[in-house]
């Protein structure tokens, strides 16, 4: 970060969205996208800790080969509820509904999203779905795995499947409404001069994400509706006893749930695309390619779902085609990764906390993405299918990728959201703890899976214990890594140093307004005359002095 010489003592602006009105009603009935984002922030954090609690129980249970903590049946419920809480109630809404909700209107120079009331409705829909799922959790939990495979979920399971299915079904509509709102907002609400190719990459990523939400989520909704009606009223599409086909459920389920992975990772990629140019002080390399890669991932993501079903006895030729299409996803992913690295090249890099998360993302996403190719390859998938290799792979993408992006974004924009700065050194240490804890938790699981330890078992052969102990130790460190940001970010929101309008400085439109912003976002609608991530032609950023001091990029431009 640049040293701003002897800046005067900063104070918060007199009027902003947080002090515009007071009282519980002003929050629960707000239509301000920024306040709704904070409502989402609180609710997804709640579910993150519920899911984290289940994860901790799973890891403690697996400390010993015979599993001393939980019964087999309870263990099944723990990993199921961990998955349901984390995927449907944390990861899918996390970046879009919190950071996207808060920053898309700010980034495009709009006063709000296109449909503010529908935005609030989406939060209430989320809460109602969450209430059903919580009811399922406290009334005995469910044990079907987060995938709700039939006929276990529809006929045989004795756990509280119905309320959980209803809860996930309802929450899906919150996701649909969010995606719809973003798509329309990006199309019709851009400020004068904010052309499509001046949009920040964060907005492009959310555009692609919204397409996936719009096209995928209705399919999981109808699928869960059919499964739910099968359990409650005896419809028979997925019931082999009536001639129905459980594999059809898997096809429909993964038609959404594979693209759902891109609902989790694309917004994180959007965050990283903001962080890297800002902290490398350099224009994003290959802007058009990174934007197109987001769309390509969204589109190709819809054509790969049966790679979750290679061992269901599907036709070999179908499997070959889907394996090939799965490999294609690697191309836009690699385009993004190489462009980020190329942005770093010759940049003037600073190691602020958000950038540490961006570096963490780069490494972990690389490992997570490349191990995905092992799984997309028909031969190796037979060996590692349903083992801890899969568990490690998708945690590298979802935790190493999506959550690193989420936390990096939270740190980056926290000064804008609250007007206050978090304690920098504590945050750097927390990021480091998180990175170490994450790798210690999940890297041993690659080895476990490769050696043949199946997922979802409550016991394992004694020779696997050493890796399991490493993993549990890592999970404990990881837990500290998550608790720290939660504590100091909350503290900073009230007592942190006042940050100013553009502390980094960054180029986006959201940094042109005050921190925290007005309810209407901008005093007057801004007119955009500059290209994205252009640090050189922006005297308003106050970087000219820095450049002449020789801190400018060591290798010249680009």
């Amino acid at each position: 970060m640049s040293a701003t010489a002897a800046a005067p003592v900063k104070t918060l602006p007199e009027h902003h969205y947080l002090n515009a009105t007071y009282g519980i009603r002003s929050w629960l009935l707000t239509v301000d996208h920024k306040r709704i984002a904070l409502l989402y922030l609180v609710s997804v954090t709640f579910f993150f800790f519920i899911g984290g609690f289940f994860a901790m129980l799973i890891r403690l249970h697996l400390l010993t080969p015979s599993g001393y903590l939980l019964s087999a049946d309870t263990y099944n419920r723990m990993f199921t509820m961990h998955g349901v809480a984390m995927i449907f109630f944390f990861l899918i809404p996390s970046i879009p509904a919190v950071l996207g909700n808060f920053f898309i209107p700010l980034m495009i120079g709009a006063k709000d999203l296109a449909f503010p009331k529908i935005n609030l409705l989406s939060w209430y829909v989320y809460v109602v779905g969450a209430a059903f799922t919580l009811y399922s959790m406290v009334s005995g939990g469910l044990d079907t795995g987060w995938t709700f495979y039939t006929p276990l979920s529809t006929i045989y399971s004795n756990s509280a499947v119905a309320p959980a299915v209803v809860g996930v079904f309802i929450t899906g509509f919150s996701s649909i409404l969010t995606g719809l709102n973003f798509l329309v907002t990006i199309h019709t609400m851009r400020a004068p001069g904010m052309t499509w190719f001046r949009l920040p990459m964060f907005v492009w990523a959310h555009y692609a994400t919204s397409i996936v939400m719009i096209l995928g989520t209705p399919v999981i909704a109808i699928t869960l509706a059919l499964a739910g009606m099968e359990r409650l009223f005896g419809l028979g599409f997925f019931n082999p006893a009536m001639g129905g086909d459980p594999i059809l459920f898997q096809h429909l389920f993964w038609f959404y749930s594979h693209p759902a992975v891109y609902i989790m990772i694309l917004p994180a990629m959007g965050v990283i695309s903001e962080l890297i140019p800002t902290f490398a002080r350099k224009q994003l390399f290959g802007y058009h390619f990174v934007a197109a890669a987001s769309l390509a991932i969204a589109v190709i993501g819809f054509l790969v779902w049966t790679h979750h079903m290679f061992l269901t006895g599907q036709s070999t030729y179908a499997a070959l085609a889907f394996s090939f299409l799965t490999f294609l996803v690697a191309i836009p992913s690699a385009v993004k990764t190489f462009n980020w690295v190329a942005t770093l090249y010759g940049g003037s890099i600073s190691f602020d906390t958000p950038m540490l998360y961006a570096f963490g993302f780069l490494g972990l996403f690389l490992i997570g993405g490349l191990t995905g190719l092992f799984l997309g390859c028909l031969g190796t998938d037979i060996h590692i299918h349903d083992t801890y290799f899969v568990v490690a792979h998708f945690h590298y993408i979802m935790v190493g990728g999506a959550i690193m992006g989420y936390l990096g974004g939270l740190h980056f924009w926290w000064p804008k959201m609250t007007g206050r700065m978090y304690p920098e050194w504590l945050a750097r240490i927390a990021a480091l703890i998180l990175f170490v804890g994450f790798n210690l938790t999940f890297f041993p699981q690659f080895l476990l899976g490769y050696l043949g330890m199946p997922r979802r078992y409550h016991v394992y052969p004694p020779e696997f214990q050493v890796y399991n102990v490493m993993s549990t130790a890592g999970a404990s460190i990881l837990a500290i890594g998550y608790l720290l940001p939660m504590i100091y970010l909350t503290w900073a929101a009230f007592f942190g140093k006042v940050a100013g309008d553009n502390p980094w400085p960054a180029t986006g439109l959201e940094w042109k307004t005050q921190s925290p912003p007005l309810t209407e976002n901008f005093e007057v609608t801004p007119i955009v005359t500059w290209e994205p991530y252009d640090f050189h032609n922006r005297p308003d950023l106050g970087l000219d002095a820095v450049a002449s001091n020789g801190v400018a990029p060591a290798h010249g431009d680009d």
Partner: protein, 245 residues
């Protein structure tokens, strides 16, 4: 956000507001296509696997009632289109009249659907433990609403189907799963549509819709036409599987 007349605070112009609302409704309809798409896929696969049972199930539906409802819905789309037109040219009384007609036709549809559903309950054609595709054939006294010659024909068709598919009863249940799943979801959309029409009627009676501002009529119209189109697909898929003999 403050509202100035009909312009909500987040927009700059009424044109922008209208464009936004219309785009939003079109995107919502895309999600609806995907939603119905899932159950139509389930239908298509099962019809492919169990054609005799699906044909037999289809033949137990009343072509007259289904055909009548198709005409009713098409007529309601026509009156809805006229309501939209009236709002665009500023004929305020006509808007209310056409909205009311659309609502009435919607309720005629519900009435016919109610008759059909209750028949299916009486004939033991609802998926579940009591499902029995042969119920009326075996208990003619319990099905007084089916004429004797129709029962004879049904009996012959069922015997043929049974010869082609020994597990006819289970597979006919899949047909009825599709029937109730698809028509039930369609009816739910109609109920929501009727609610929206009442809301429009309230607005039009208050004289809110003018040639300058009639977005709600326009986008509810889009929704109503979509629900109509879904039925245009459901009718042949469910009623006309095996009528070409």
């Amino acid at each position: 956000m403050h509202r100035t007349g009909e312009l909500y605070g987040q927009f700059k112009t009424l044109e922008q507001q209208k464009e936004t609302a219309t785009l939003g409704m079109w995107i919502f309809l895309i999600t609806e296509v995907m939603f119905f798409g899932g159950i139509m896929l389930a239908y298509a696969l099962n019809r492919h696997f169990y054609y005799p049972a699906f044909a037999a199930g289809s033949n137990t539906l009343s072509l007259k009632l289904g055909g009548f409802n198709t005409v009713v819905l098409l007529a309601s789309s026509f009156t809805m289109a006229l309501a939209v037109w009236s709002s665009q040219v500023g004929k305020k009384t006509l808007i209310s009249i056409f909205l009311l007609l659309t609502i009435l036709l919607g309720f005629v549809f519900f009435g016919v659907k109610y008759v059909e559903y209750s028949q299916k309950f009486h004939h033991h054609l609802v998926p579940g433990k009591k499902f029995d595709i042969f119920y009326c054939v075996n208990n003619p006294a319990s099905c007084p609403d089916v004429a004797a010659d129709e029962l004879m024909e049904e009996s012959n068709l069922l015997d043929e189907a049974k010869a082609a598919d020994p597990d006819l009863n289970a597979h006919a249940q899949l047909y009825y799963s599709a029937y109730f799943g698809m028509t039930g979801l369609h009816a739910l959309h109609m109920v929501i549509g009727a609610g929206l029409l009442f809301w429009l009627l309230k607005g039009s009676l208050a004289g809110r819709f003018t040639p300058q501002w009639n977005t709600p009529v326009d986008i509810v119209g889009l929704y109503w036409h979509f629900v109509d189109i879904v039925w245009i697909y459901l009718f042949p898929l469910l009623y006309l599987i095996d009528r070409h003999k």
